[in-house]
């Protein structure tokens, strides 16, 4: 008896593993079909690797000054050197190294804010949607009120008063952005709550945390993931803007927005100081946006169907063209 049990467990595990691999392959196939999404995923992977291994990849310490080699141009200029492939800034710091390390700040702030704001927002949304009544009224009134705040202005003032730094930027941006998650979670919960399996779970006597976390939350994963990624892109831009205004990351730390701000005084004699970090921001955000729009496509069954139809139509057209061509060529 026990023998068969272990067997079936192993089999089950095996099967489960197969399912996972299968799913991954499926995702890979989908990705192959969507070139833009593929590019996005590849770019993000590269950026994450760059951020994680920044100290090993970067040729110099990003804060190392060399006043004798200030504003050196990139290597392809006559005055450029291999020592500083993308040139140096006004304090003789290596632009390539600063750009590589800048990825750390951008991705770290993005991830931290999405997790903090998302976590808080989802918890509030679950409570509001599931518990309903006074809790719901209170949370939703809070959300409505905060949504109507001039958020960026408040963020700027708060940052100016408590002193801008990596931590304060994360906290302020998270405080400013949790409401979207709350609203979305709540409305999703309200619709899921009516579904038979949640009702069944309640009838069986599951307590509410269990219902929420075991039965409702898993159904929210895919829309929350898409929202989180979109928010990630927004946060990366917001951090860059705050740093550009001088109320974000402070020197000697590095950030792309900060580098653009410092480089703008020199933009007519050293275009690379503004252009390179600016491009880094644009590429990062673009990659995230590409992935987000791809994710939205595959997570929405209607969209998927359309895409599939388009794909089939394309293939058919190709085939038809080939046949016509063949027929034309054939005398």
């Amino acid at each position: 008896m026990s023998q068969t049990n272990a067997d079936s467990l192993e089999q089950a595990l095996e099967q489960h593993r197969h399912e996972w691999v299968e799913k991954l392959f499926e995702l890979g196939r989908e990705l192959k079909r969507d070139k833009a999404g593929l590019v996005g995923v590849m770019l993000i992977t590269a950026l994450v690797l760059m951020a994680v291994f920044a100290p090993y990849i970067a040729p110099h310490d990003p804060t190392d000054q060399d006043l004798t080699a200030r504003l050196a141009p990139p290597v392809w200029y006559e005055k450029g050197t291999l020592k500083h492939i993308l040139g140096t800034d006004h304090l003789g710091r290596d632009v390539l190294s600063r750009t590589i390390h800048g990825a750390r700040v951008s991705l770290w702030v993005g991830a931290a804010v999405v997790l903090l704001a998302g976590g808080f927002g989802v918890v509030m949304g679950l409570m509001a949607g599931y518990l309903g009544g006074r809790t719901d009224a209170f949370v939703m009134r809070w959300v409505d009120t905060q949504v109507a705040f001039p958020g960026l202005l408040l963020a700027l003032i708060i940052l100016a008063v408590i002193g801008p730094s990596l931590t304060t930027v994360v906290v302020v941006l998270a405080l400013n952005g949790w409401m979207v998650y709350g609203r979305m979670t709540r409305s999703a919960v309200l619709s899921i709550r009516q579904s038979p399996y949640v009702e069944a779970a309640e009838v069986v006597g599951c307590r509410w945390p269990r219902v929420i976390f075991r039965h409702i939350l898993p159904n929210l994963t895919s829309p929350l993931l898409t929202l989180g990624i979109l928010e990630f892109a927004r946060i990366v831009l917001a951090e860059a803007a705050l740093s550009f205004l001088g109320l974000g990351i402070q020197p000697p730390a590095t950030s792309w927005g900060l580098d653009v701000a410092m480089g703008k005084n020199y933009m007519f004699m050293a275009w690379w100081l503004v252009t390179i970090p600016g491009c880094a921001i644009a590429v990062t955000v673009l990659a995230i946006n590409l992935v987000a729009s791809w994710l939205r496509l595959i997570s929405d069954p209607q969209e998927r169907e359309k895409q599939f139809a388009r794909h089939m139509a394309g293939a058919m057209r190709k085939k038809m063209h080939a046949t016509i061509k063949k027929e034309l060529e054939a005398p």
């Binding site: 001088g246 020197p251 703008k264 007519f268």
Partner: protein, 493 residues
């Protein structure tokens, strides 16, 4: 897509038409300032933007040559001392304000009384703090009375802009200035520009430039863009790196001196040998060349420029001698000990860079330097903290009076707002000079004070920074040591 292209074409055409009708008069110039005046009342604020504009609308009783020597302006001759605390001023005749009010002794007396009135609460009061009264003794003569002998009264009168007694009572005076100067006020579009036009009835030599527009742009990069796009003829505070990229640039030895105040009463810097070592350790020439691209001079062991009253040309900068610095530190037995250096960031040109560079030199001399860069508010708390003085505080002193008194009272004299020593002899010299009316004796007192502070090495004197202006190709202007932007001294080719 076709529609989009046509729209773009239309936009470009519109732009070309609009750009052609812009402000481009033949002899009019545009000056870009770093900040907009908050008022155009010439007597209430201490504000660079206001001064830059009003210096052209108003005249002062005395003025300076571009090299910094005092000369009469509205006054017919230099003021004379009648007794120990009374000065006599005689005015030129036949001058009128732009609105026709006559410039006479009453107008000057009125202007003095207006600015020193405690109710008026002028920020410029520190320039006139010794003046207690003024009275007209004739149509064009008046007496200025001080609270004791005040040798620098002429310097103070160089700050006194004379306002019209009748018009200045108008509540709209702060938005509609009327002076005696070479330019008249035309319009002030808040947030955008101020326009002036040449005063055709000016009593002095007629200026060449017919009109001036002032623009206000805080970002140095944006100011530079405007100069390079040909919109501006003159921009202030050009970064040294750009002198080779703008059509023309002018550099003049300015009024700013970055120094480090050393704590002479406590800590590792209590020992004069250490303070000297800290001076020997810094390669001032390298700072001037490296950080400021040569647009700064090494300060000659004193908080004064050569053009200031009290400058002691016998005192020279501490040489750069790292070996001597190391030896002195070892002699004093403080090798490897911690020294705290306080600075701020973004307040003055390259402030942070200077602090970090100095810290690097000190490290090489064998000290463990702890650099602490504070946000400006917090930095000020440290600078003004009288109880616990930090070992070293970086500050940039700016002296518009061009006279030793202001800088020395603030930083040299014991108990001054930023001083870190309790040297009674030094304080005595500064006090004595303050009330000494004999110019030679007063100068001598300052020479002694400079020498004393130098021997004790109360500071690390770093640089004297040059002001750099960016000019359009058509503008000619030699610059001034007092940093005033006098349009009548400019010419358009």
């Amino acid at each position: 897509m076709k529609k989009y292209g046509r729209l773009l074409l239309a936009a470009v055409l519109m732009v070309v038409v609009l750009a052609g009708t812009g402000w481009a008069k033949a002899e009019g110039i545009t000056i870009a300032l770093g900040s907009e005046p908050t008022t155009l009342d010439p007597q209430i604020r201490e504000d660079g933007g206001e001064r830059a504009v009003n210096d052209n609308i108003y005249d002062t009783v005395l003025t300076r040559t571009p090299e910094g020597d005092m000369m009469p302006s509205l006054a017919a001759q230099m003021p004379k001392l009648v007794d120990a605390d009374t000065w006599e001023v005689t005015l030129r005749s036949g001058i009128t304000f732009h609105n026709g009010e006559p410039l006479n002794a009453d107008a000057v007396v009125y202007s003095i009384k207006r600015v020193i009135d405690p109710e008026f609460n002028s920020e410029q009061i520190s320039f006139f703090s010794t003046i207690t009264d003024a009275r007209a003794t004739g149509d064009l003569t008046l007496h200025v009375i001080t609270d004791g002998p005040d040798p620098i009264l002429p310097t103070r009168l160089y700050w006194l802009k004379v306002v019209p007694p009748k018009h200045s009572k108008d509540p709209k005076f702060a938005e509609n200035p009327v002076g005696t100067g070479p330019y008249r006020f035309v319009a002030w579009q808040r947030g955008q520009h101020i326009d002036l036009v040449r005063n055709e009835d000016y009593w002095g030599p007629a200026p060449q430039i017919s009109s001036v527009r002032y623009r206000f742009i805080e970002e140095p990069g944006t100011r530079l863009a405007g100069l390079m796009a040909g919109e501006f003829d003159l921009i202030t505070n050009l970064l040294p790196e750009f002198t080779s990229h703008v059509p023309k640039s002018v550099n003049v030895l300015g009024l700013e001196h970055p120094i480090i105040i050393l704590n002479a009463d406590d800590g590792v810097t209590k020992d004069a040998r250490v303070r000297k070592a800290l001076n020997y350790a810094v390669d001032k020439q390298a700072l001037a060349q490296g950080l400021f691209e040569g647009f700064a001079q090494v300060a000659q062991g004193q908080l004064l420029s050569p053009s200031f009253f009290g400058y002691n040309d016998q005192v020279k900068a501490y040489s750069y001698d790292p070996d001597k610095a190391k030896k002195l530190i070892e002699e004093a037995g403080v090798k490897g000990q911690t020294i705290e250096l306080i600075g701020t960031s973004g307040r003055w040109l390259k402030d942070r860079d200077l602090v970090e560079a100095v810290a690097d030199f000190w490290k090489k001399a064998g000290l463990d330097v702890k650099v602490r860069i504070f946000e400006f508010n917090e930095y000020l708390n440290r600078l003004f903290d009288r109880k616990t003085r930090a070992d070293g505080i970086f500050v940039v002193s700016s002296n518009e009076l061009l006279d030793a008194d202001k800088s020395f009272s603030a930083y040299y004299k014991a108990g001054g707002i930023g001083s870190s020593n309790t040297d009674e002899t030094l304080a005595g010299l500064i006090d004595a000079a303050r009330s000494e009316t004999d110019e030679k004796k007063r100068e001598n007192l300052y020479h002694q004070a400079v020498q004393l502070a130098y021997d004790q090495a109360y500071f690390v004197w770093l640089l004297n920074i040059e002001d750099i202006y960016g000019l359009s190709a058509r503008l000619e202007w030699p610059g001034r040591v007092d940093a005033r932007l006098l349009v009548r001294e400019m010419q358009v080719r």
